[in-house]
């Protein structure tokens, strides 16, 4: 047992002290990883955050198109975790893949863009919700519709409450302009990003402020 009580009992501590600690640029490494993973089709989606007058937006896209544009939440990673729960965890950050969206949002908020020209991926929606949102996507800039009108366009004229819920579940606000849907009596209705945001977007598009 002499080896166990030798003056070299500290070899473990020596290894610990001599352990290398290479400096890593996680952004660069992550970028390369994302590129190679993309080539192999290994990613469910990529995501990023985008500065905007509406705060820091969370955006996610699949190979097919934009999946999600989320308003800021109180917990920084909650959008990412929710998305992971819904479509799976193979998600990598990729600011570079969102340059087109970033540019178009900047132009929109500067009043220089009326339509978004982006492929959309509707995977996070289904059924009546998707029907409502697809119809909503066709409402022109600066115009509004009522919940009842949208419900009718989606094939269920009396389902205006369900249409309201569907709009509340819009995963791609701003780009799919659910802010352009108001109450038939002219009231502002609801909005996932908050009523202040809804009024801001309507104002930006030159719509008279609803009640």
């Amino acid at each position: 047992m002499s080896a166990d009580r030798s003056p070299h009992d500290d070899v473990g501590a020596e290894i610990s002290a001599a352990m290398p600690s290479p400096s890593l640029d996680l952004e660069v490494l992550g970028g390369r990883l994302e590129e190679r993973a993309g080539q192999e089709g290994l990613l469910t989606a990529t995501y990023t955050t985008l500065e905007s007058p509406a705060g820091l937006l969370f955006a996610a896209a699949s190979e097919r198109g934009l999946l999600l544009l989320g308003y800021p939440t109180t917990r920084p990673d909650s959008r990412l975790e929710d998305l992971s729960e819904r479509i799976g965890p193979r998600l990598i950050s990729s600011p570079a893949r969102f340059e087109t969206l970033r540019r178009q949002l900047d132009e929109y908020f500067a009043g220089k863009r009326r339509d978004f020209e982006l492929p959309l991926d509707w995977s996070l929606t289904s059924g009546f919700v998707r029907k409502v949102l697809v119809e909503t996507a066709h409402i022109p800039y600066g115009e509004t519709r009522s919940y009842g009108q949208i419900a009718a366009l989606a094939g269920s004229p009396r389902a205006f409450r369900a249409a309201g819920s569907a709009l509340g579940a819009n995963p791609i606000p701003i780009v799919v302009p659910c802010h352009r849907v108001l109450r038939s009596d002219g009231g502002v209705g609801g909005y996932g990003g908050g009523l202040e945001m809804k009024r801001l977007l309507l104002g930006l598009e030159g719509v008279p402020q609803p009640r």
Binding site: A3, D4, S6, H8, D9, V11, G12, A13, E14, I15, S16, A18, M19, P20, S21, P22, L24, L26, L29, G30, R32, L33, R36, A37, E40, L42, L43, Y47, D77, L80, E81, L83, S84, E85, G88, P89, R90, L91, I92, S93
Partner: protein, 175 residues
Amino acid sequence: MVVAAPSIGESRVGRSRPQPFQLFFEEQAGAVARYLSTTLPADEVEECLQESFLAALRAYDDFDGARPRAWVLTIARRKSIDFHRARARRPAPDAELGEQLPAPAPPEIPLSGDIWNEVAGLPEKQRAALVLRFGLDMPHREIGTVLACSAEAARRSVHEGLRKLRQTRLKEEAA
């Protein structure tokens, strides 16, 4: 394709789902880079790290989310061994140096200093066990996952590695 087997007897109770891959990558890249720095030359560490995380991504759907560090180091260790094999197949310009160590061990640990020269003389499994135990402060159960053995066998590998290092030093002192 590299797929890490779950360790034997691993509890399925309360198993978590894997976190979003980006967060997993950011949290584990440091440990993987440190481990690989003890097994590969500096210019190969980054490439092997990329390969390891790509392999992890390919296997991510089958990963239960438990002990992510041990899981990704299992992959990284195998990738690092693959790198050494690939290099061994290439014509080696310094083959005449003829240093012989147990395959698939590297001809040298790419770090200077007495302790690494001594560790380099150990079999790969014991080297890995010591680096994981003392370099990355991992418990024996996680080391067992990485080395594909039981916690007890991992403990023995650590113990055996330490014993040999101490013996070598005592011999050198006696000489």
